[in-house]
Amino acid sequence: MKLYIAVGTAVLLVMAIFIIVFVAYYQQKQIRQQLILKEWQEKYRKGLLAATLQAQEHERRRIAQDLHDEIGTMLSVTKLSLNQLGRTVEHNDPGSTVLVQKTRSLLDETIANVRRISRDLVPTTLERFGLVSALEELAEKASNGEVHVELSCSDKMPTLLPQLDLTLFRIAQELINNAIKHANAENIIIDLHCQPNGVLLSVIDDGRGFDLDEILKDKKRGLGLRNIESRLNVIDGHVTFDVEEGRGSRIHIQVKNLKPEVEVEVEAV
């Protein structure tokens, strides 16, 4: 009997130890698999996001091209015809000359608007002269009598990957737009500085600020901020919001100037 008890106890003990080891091993294996799956999902999500952004850029480019090549050309031809019509009207019906001049100025305004929209859609300066020049142009365009936008940057900026250039430009565009439109800022500073292996872009304004948590909670608002996060996600960038209601905002974007996992194709114009 005692032998049976000893053997039974030994068997039970071996089984218990086996179960413990098996549970620990199997759980660790499952966790590793879960991590791999998460990595894959993250990679897939990034790829999808990159493809969406790429499609967005393609579409902007196509619309800009259509505006420039088709509508712009049509408007130029219309202007030529109007000029001809104007000369005929001047001889036959001098009373209508004012109307023709009014139509001509409206047409000039439309042509200028189409050019502006087309230029805004595709940042040609960015592609031709780089990020600093594009940001200078952006600051210049955004500045008017009420708003003052200033760019401050390192003397020597490293050459960034085209994808990083575009992302930083679009983010700066979004933040300046937000500062003017929503925060009623009067002074905006774009600060671009290089860091070891990366770049730090800060957009600082003296507007009325905002409650970040409240905006991110509301699904209908904060689309721009979510877009910024999505764009940075693709290039493994990082955003820090130093914001509070009533005291302006400081938004810092940090990106690494390394070859990213997901590349976004940027076409030359």
């Binding site: 009997m1 005692k2 008890i5 106890t9 039970l12 413990i20 620990a24 499952q30």
Partner: protein, 228 residues
């Protein structure tokens, strides 16, 4: 001085104090880490404190040569109650809680039937060990199904369950066949061997419980770091 009942008991049976020593160490570990203990761990801590109280009464009775076997049975009831409470909190799924309560119910029925003031209720203690094994297996199944624990080796309840399953497996047959194992009190009988086995496994279980309290602090800190 040396003929004081307590001193002579210690001198006569120094080995029997081994589990009590580890019990004290486990309580010390629990006290040091008390603020980090979650609800299941606190139930296990209560179990240790109650076990210590019972053990002290047992020692007193032994020193004054009074019957103390019923205290083994009472200790089993305390262990089972606190264990069931800890697992009821830890195993959140309703089906698991039903199993926990069923296990406790079966144990209580056996306890009421088998309880005796003058002998160790072997069947009760055996059933207690079987229910402990069931709880531990249930917990293992629960963590494998949920996959919420990142690192099992620093998860306190895993160690508690591992300790419980080893302790229960090592002492199950000793109590199920209590008449054969602990029934023969003659000098050449097997009582000394089996009681040493029981004490060794109890000491091992207390070490594991103490270790789980220390692990709990680390687990708490880790969780805090991830949630900040």
């Amino acid at each position: 001085m040396l003929d004081h009942p307590y001193i002579s008991l210690i001198l006569k049976y120094p080995d029997s104090f081994l589990p009590d020593l580890f019990l004290l160490l486990a309580i010390g570990a629990g006290l040091v880490n008390y603020s980090f203990l979650d609800r299941p761990s606190r139930w296990l801590f209560r179990m240790l404190v109650l076990s210590l109280v019972i053990s002290l009464i047992q020692l007193h009775d032994a020193a004054y040569r009074q019957n103390n076997t019923y205290l083994h049975n009472l200790n089993s009831l305390v262990e089972m109650g606190c264990f069931a409470a800890a697992y009821r909190i830890e195993l959140k799924a309703r089906s698991n809680q039903v199993i926990v309560f069923t296990g406790l119910g079966i144990y209580l029925l056996v306890f009421l039937n088998d309880f005796s003031w003058t002998r160790i209720a072997g069947v009760t203690l055996g059933v207690e060990r079987i229910v402990m094994i069931v709880y531990a297996l249930l917990y293992f199944h629960y963590i494998l199904a949920r996959m919420q624990v990142q690192n099992l080796l620093i998860h306190s309840m895993f160690w508690v369950s591992a300790g419980a399953i080893v302790h229960a497996a090592g002492t199950l047959f000793v109590f199920l066949f209590v008449k054969v194992t602990l029934g023969d009190l003659s000098s050449n009988g097997s009582y000394a061997l089996y009681i040493t086995i029981v004490r060794t496994f109890s000491a091992f279980f207390y070490i594991i419980l103490g270790f789980s309290f220390c692990i709990r602090r680390r687990e708490f800190r880790l969780a805090e770091r991830f949630t900040v």
